[in-house]
């Protein structure tokens, strides 16, 4: 069967369902990746522990949900707890490495990810925990009962990213962050407390990862290794979107998630993941600055 026939054999409604799925996954991925890209942009730190912050956020959500029964409270408390943990990690692990070879920060965050992952395994055990969806409504999407919750996560992720964008664009602290990203020395000379800005950005990125962990928890289950898949994809997105570019990461998240969703129509979902790696390799080969940023002059 040639490609034309293959494509024609896919029912149109399946394509639409996969479009919705791709966008929903893409928005969650964008939430993970925008924290990662923000951190990379401002401190040139590749945070290999980002996936573990995502995972720990989900676990804080699980614990809070078990104690209170309130999903939204779980979301808020996970975000706050992991934001504080992010600040602590920055002060204790990363600030002392400021100005060293980037390799040291890669090793430090990689080591941290192992510590956090094994802590979660020790604390919560190997069996995946469930986070119940906050509400169970469905609507009819062609042949599927599509859960409203999925659309809600996409919307909430969009809202959080939008809030971040507004904060960066118009807030005084947002201007501090962008100034520090562009020229750390000059930012200091303008009275911007750069060490505090760096810690805050790491904390904000950690909080965003935690929020995505809780939001996505109901769809995949929570276990100690869940961070790995996501951080791998988030890294692909950050590279394809252009290192440090927030808009690029968001565009790349949706682009790659859609590609994977469409590929899953033809091959098995496990094989569909290959598509993202192909995109990554092609990007590195032909446009290493990223697909979704203006061509550098």
């Amino acid at each position: 069967m040639d490609l034309g026939h293959l494509i024609q054999s896919i029912p149109f409604d399946q394509v639409l369902v996969q479009t919705v799925n791709g966008i929903v996954t893409g928005m969650i991925l964008a939430l993970v990746a925008s924290g990662l890209t923000l951190i990379f942009g401002i401190m040139d730190v590749v945070n290999f522990a980002h996936g573990e912050l995502f995972m720990l956020g989900a676990y804080v959500g699980v614990v809070t949900l078990a104690a209170t029964g309130n999903f939204w409270l779980a979301l808020v408390s996970a975000t706050l707890v992991i934001t504080l943990l992010g600040a602590l990690i920055h002060v204790v692990v990363l600030r002392p490495l400021l100005g060293r070879d980037p390799l040291t920060t890669i090793l430090a965050t990689f080591g941290l990810s192992l510590v956090l992952q094994n802590y979660a395994l020790w604390q919560f055990g190997p069996v995946a925990r469930q986070i119940a969806e906050p509400f169970g409504g469905h609507f009819q999407l062609f042949y599927l009962d599509y859960p409203w919750y999925r659309l809600l996560i996409a919307g909430l992720s969009g809202a959080i990213i939008g809030g971040l964008w507004l904060f960066l664009k118009y807030g005084s602290y947002g201007i501090w962050i962008r100034a520090t990203t562009q020229d750390r020395v000059m930012a200091q000379a303008m009275g911007i407390p750069v060490p505090l800005v760096l810690t805050s950005v790491f904390a904000i990125g950690a909080g965003m990862a935690a929020a995505s962990g809780v939001l996505f928890g109901p769809l995949v289950g929570v276990n100690h290794a869940m961070g790995l898949d996501w951080v791998l994809k988030a890294f692909i997105v950050v590279v394809v979107g252009g290192m440090g570019s927030l808009g690029g990461s968001i565009a790349a998240s949706i682009f790659i998630s859609l590609l994977e969703a469409y590929a899953a129509l033809v091959v098995s979902p496990a094989q569909a993941v290959i598509v993202s790696f192909v995109v990554l390799i092609l990007t590195l080969l032909f446009r290493p600055t990223g697909l979704f940023v203006p061509t550098p002059k």
Partner: protein, 246 residues
């Protein structure tokens, strides 16, 4: 610190025998100088004698390993650069270093959005620099990187003025500008002087420095070797030839 220090009789900035290093290379070998309140002081010397490093040491960007920097009699050389900026030390580096992706207004806000500055005060400060540099008002929504060299110099100086500084450290403002822009730099220094802001000016342009400065220090091999009132110096003088090689 000791209450006996009378700020009005102290010079604004006093640099006492500072030594700085980049890694293992010893750059400043005991530089000492003073800048009075509202005074424009020139720092002349050949390339590589440590003029820029002196400014960076005062701004806290290259902290001295020995010696002290005092601001109105208080030692400040142990403070991080952002605290020094808040204490009133403005720094305009050699390559201007405007935030290229930030708009003109956002560049100004980096210095303006501080605690304890009222809305009215912020507006007054903006009105003042926009009155001095109308072109910045016109381009307030334009990215800093799209401005011409002269405009970037204005922006870098206006940005430092947002800190309401007591002194501005001005590093080679004419560097990389067309010769006809030197008048604009002269105007910027006059603006700062009329605002009672002291200026420590590092320059290669001798006529500009002699015209704008009140006192001149000459540096050689990481030390201040000579000091003279600007009025006593002329472009062709032997002392200038000795230290500048022109």
């Amino acid at each position: 610190m000791s209450p006996a220090v009378d700020a009005s009789r102290e010079p604004l900035v006093r640099v006492e025998a500072i030594h700085t290093y980049y890694g293992k290379s010893h750059i400043l070998h005991g530089v000492s100088l003073e800048v009075g309140h509202g005074e424009v002081v020139g720092l002349l010397g050949r390339n590589g004698v440590g003029k820029s490093t002196t400014l960076k040491a005062i701004a806290g960007l290259v902290p001295p390993r020995q010696g002290r920097v005092l601001l109105e009699g208080q030692p400040i050389s142990h403070l991080p650069p952002h605290k020094l900026a808040r204490l009133g030390i403005g720094y305009v580096p050699e390559d201007r270093r405007v935030f290229r992706l930030l708009t003109v207004m956002e560049n100004l806000r980096t210095g303006l959005d501080r605690h304890g500055v009222t809305k009215a005060r912020k507006q007054a400060l903006l009105d003042k620099v926009f009155a001095y540099f109308p072109v910045l008002a016109e381009r307030r929504s334009q990215a800093g990187g799209t401005l011409s060299g002269g405009e970037q110099q204005m922006l870098a100086s206006a940005r430092a003025m947002m800190l309401e500084p007591k002194i501005i450290l001005l590093d080679e403002p004419t560097e990389g500008l067309m010769p006809r822009m030197v008048g604009q730099i002269r105007q910027i220094i006059e603006v700062l002087h009329s605002e009672q802001v002291a200026v420590l000016l590092v320059e290669q342009n001798v006529p500009l420095t002699l015209e704008a400065g009140q006192r001149i220090y000459f540096m050689e091999k990481g030390e201040v070797r000579h000091e003279a009132p600007a009025a006593d110096l002329h472009v062709g003088d032997a002392v200038i030839h000795q230290y500048m090689g022109v």
